[in-house]
Homo-oligomer: 149 residues x 2
């Protein structure tokens, strides 16, 4: 798979990731390690909550989104996250869900401090197999240029 | 440890978490699963990058922050994340770092849709053992009321 550079992108480019299967086991394992609340840990207890069943931690959804984004864009040397805004979880992620990320490049500029890098602003929308949106976010990342400078 | 409710909080309350040790093994394991880029995966390759060594994924830092926050505030029935803004990573997290989260309650209001819940807005600042800030964020969460309504 070809490695991507800053110069390969322009505003309003869109990318669709591969898919990711979310298992009950993975939801519980992430919950135990990072978000130990009953609706992420135990199917029976989760049934008593407003979610009426086990759901993934929003941070688990965010981490899965990062994985799909990294694989899809495949930046040479990697993309360095600078910040995230407007991170929202409009619908829960449940065991058996299949997630997919759509990335839109919102704008691009040269880096002022690192001449071999550019800064991209992007929107990531994570959806499930029912066409529901489970996460939206805006992110800024520093990505490599081809070093023609 | 006592369970906390919406009514137990007021604006400008502050909480300090316990500490969390970040190992090289955990950084690599999280990177492999969720953020497969060389500066999160391999000490030797990471030395060649601008970070000059292995660093944790920002999403790993965010997940650790959630764990420390959840344990510290300990809401009865849990805190449901509604959204996050201004998530930033001003300094990298490295193997051996010891993280701690300071939470400030910024404001509180009743939930319009769920009479047994309130909405809190908070700021989480994650620091390391050198007093450097490694992550900042604003978050909104829905938390339970004592159900006197």
């Amino acid at each position: 798979m070809k490695e991507r550079y800053f110069e390969d992108l322009k505003a309003s480019d869109r990318f669709k990731s591969s898919t990711y299967n979310v298992t009950e086991e993975a939801i519980i394992s992430f919950g135990r390690e990072f978000d130990p609340q009953s609706f992420h840990l135990d199917s029976a207890k989760a049934k008593q909550t407003m979610f009426e069943g086990l759901i993934a931690s929003g941070w688990h959804t965010a981490a899965i989104t990062m994985r799909l984004f990294v694989q899809t864009l495949n930046f040479a040397e990697g993309a360095i996250g600078l910040g995230v805004d407007e991170l929202r979880w409009p619908n829960p992620v449940r065991p058996g869900d299949v997630l997919e990320v759509e990335t839109e490049i919102v704008d691009l500029r040269e880096s002022r401090s690192k001449p071999n890098h550019g800064i991209i602003r992007l929107r990531n929308v994570t959806g499930n197999q029912r066409g529901e949106i489970v996460q939206t976010m805006m992110a800024s990342a520093m990505v490599p240029k081809r070093r023609v400078n």
